[in-house]
Symmetry: C2
Subunit: 419 residues, 2 copies
């Protein structure tokens, strides 16, 4: 390990204005380095410490009364905080609910059902499987056509590609803001504007953006967005997702999963379904209150740090990871498959090598945890508030060691087989 890289990591940690935020997380000793906060963020110590009290007091003592006192509004109160702190969205446009999958389904359906004369959905072939599957399902059930974009391998989905794909036939464009493998950041304002030029809606998947990349949904005139809270928002395994619907669209849109909690008067238990005013109409069943608690804690922490500072650290982290990879791992054949331009890069870095599947398995055994993305990618998710520069260096140092060992043992195996 070159001494200069180590010194640089120490220097970056020493001058990191967010360094102390890392202490807010549960940091068990057995975890040597965690580079998978974009699959499942670490829990906060505050969540660990107070969740038992939530069970005993808020649930156990207030019981059903807590619905009146607090919980009924919780999806929208938390949604508003998420909007203000993370999404660049004014109040009344965000709710926490369901899973990303269910919210994507509801908003896709709301979008296509709002314009029955439009017959196409535009999507891209490299989006996360759920997004692609849902586009296919909704198209099949509503008798629509999908127009697929193949992202440019060196640029992701471009504005020009979207301009070519959309037309007066387009009901909705579904894209991810940050690509889940490569980390390419789509040009959200320009793509949104291009869709609007032909009267189409855009639904943005923010799973790999929320809590890592600055967003300005209102200013960018976004129509619809969804995202998950268990990545950079540290909501915990399978935590509820969020949905954003621009206020100007809410009255026009209806979602198909019409449960009592989206009704104008949930406790009237009346006759026909009458959707609530505003964001509440996008809620279906009873909101998952316990599952929202970790997200509430993390939003407070993000609010304290501020998204500009979070994003600034994210850029430094990914830049440092790329620098270390190029210095330490490129000689072993590792290539960086994420954008070099920090403005086009999310908060993870994809490193590719033919031996990556084995390397990631070896890393896990050492307590170094990135994830593997087929066919040959190590995805290093760098969660700005919980990842240190030293952690990045340690992890990539282990990649270096394992790749060296693999290539040595490969040679030695060959010797054995071909003496």
């Amino acid at each position: 390990m070159p001494e200069r890289l180590r010194q640089e990591a120490e220097q970056l940690d020493a001058t990191d204005p967010l360094a102390s935020f890392r202490d807010a997380f549960v940091l068990p000793e057995g975890v040597v380095a965690y580079l998978d906060g974009n699959s499942l963020g670490r829990p906060l110590a505050r969540t660990r410490d107070r969740i038992g009290s939530f069970v005993a007091d808020e649930w156990g003592e207030r019981l059903i009364r807590a619905w009146d006192e607090k919980w009924m509004d919780q999806p929208l109160v938390l949604g508003d905080q998420l909007g203000r702190v993370v999404l660049g969205a004014a109040a009344g446009q965000t709710t926490v609910a369901d899973s990303t999958t269910v919210l994507l389904y509801k908003l896709l359906r709301a979008a296509v059902d709002a314009s029955p004369e439009r017959t196409e959905i535009v999507a891209d072939t490299e989006n996360f499987p759920t997004d692609r599957f849902l586009v296919e399902s909704v198209a099949a059930e509503r008798d629509l056509t999908v127009r697929w974009i193949s992202p440019d391998p060196a640029a992701g989905v471009t504005v020009d590609q979207v301009r070519e794909a959309v037309s007066a036939r387009t009901a909705v464009v579904l894209l991810s803001h940050v690509a889940y493998k490569s980390a390419y950041v789509a040009d959200l304002p320009a793509i949104t504007a291009a869709a609007h030029e032909v009267g189409a809606l855009v639904l943005w998947d923010l799973c790999h953006s929320a809590g890592a990349v600055e967003l300005a949904l209102d200013a960018d005139d976004v129509d619809l967005a969804v995202g998950c809270s268990y990545k950079y928002l540290n909501g915990g395994p399978g935590a509820p997702a969020f949905a954003y619907v621009a206020e100007r669209l809410q009255e026009r849109l209806a979602q198909p999963i019409t449960g009592w909690m989206g009704h104008a008067e949930p406790f009237a238990m009346g006759g026909d379904y009458e959707p609530a005013k505003g964001m509440r109409r996008f809620i279906s069943g009873t909101p998952p209150i316990l599952g929202m608690l970790p997200l509430a804690d993390m939003l407070d922490l993000v609010e304290e740090a501020g998204m500009p500072a979070v994003r600034a650290k994210s850029v430094l982290l990914t830049a440092y990871a790329i620098r270390v990879s190029e210095e330490l791992l490129a000689p072993l054949g590792v290539t960086v498959a994420s954008p070099a331009d920090p403005d086009r890069r999310g908060s993870h870095v994809l490193l590719e090598h033919d031996a990556m599947r084995e390397v990631v398995a070896g890393l896990w055994q050492r307590g170094v945890i990135p994830d593997f993305r087929p066919p040959r990618g190590l995805r290093a998710g760098l969660s700005p508030l919980s990842t240190s520069f030293t952690e990045v260096l340690v992890a990539l140092g282990h990649v270096h060691d394992l790749l060296t060992e693999t290539s040595e043992s490969g040679t030695s195996d060959e010797r054995k087989q071909n003496p």
Copy 2:
């Protein structure tokens, strides 16, 4: 308060074989009597005590590795336990996921989409709002007709009513097993058989049954069922729901919310959606793991008690509540709107009086917590493992006192107005 009623409560508590189970729950002193376990069950002390460790250890230390080690199978493992302990369902037919609303939508859609030549849904006008709303929505989007049954006020939905409503046009019948207001228990085996005679499927809503009434879904040849886990299964506010799909139907049915977690190979991230074999295909998004923890604890407790014992206590509790009401409250004008026959009665009792709205408000101020169901019902949910007979008596004693005070102050008000 007649001494005989108090002695009877004490006697029933003293001879209750499940009395000690009550100590497993969080029982704060400020809650004088809790008769709303059918809206939100009390938390278990075990849940309170271990949920912080779950955050620190299983989530915080295993992190993303826990998906491989345990969480991926958790919805189905917990589903199997729920099937075995509560539903009378063999393994491989139950999953924990989403909310009741979302699961109802998915299974309604799966049922009607499986038989496009059938053009009707049968449902009843007194079902819980979500069920009725979803029937209307699915019917509208799939161009189907709803055939509404009006339940007999003195018997709930009868087999004869279902026989009259179903035909070769019926795709699916959606009914609640235990009516959410009156507590009438539908004749599940006979109604299921009546639907099968015309080739229709039946989807049972078990929200007010699961954990309170014995079920034998396999033996009764049930097709589909859903239910929530935050009532008699004490899963916590907005806890995930469950779905049952008979094994014989699983390959034939497809649900519309096609997320990665229902795919045959979730981590292959491949091209087209290919539904998983078995129950996994009814899962959509990332399962809510944290939200399943309280349910897991409660299922262990129910397994220890055994559903026959739980049901036996439920019958004694509701019978005692009715007896107390008739002796203590009937003279004040309260009527029992739940069935007298214990075989036809779920685990709650609906007591009606014109002043009930005010009475329930007054009860809440005293720490006595049933819920109010418009227009004039006090619904006393008696959760067999956490409710004592004395608790029932204390609560109804407060109803007596409040009704007496109300009628006295009413009289005095009248006097003032009409001197």
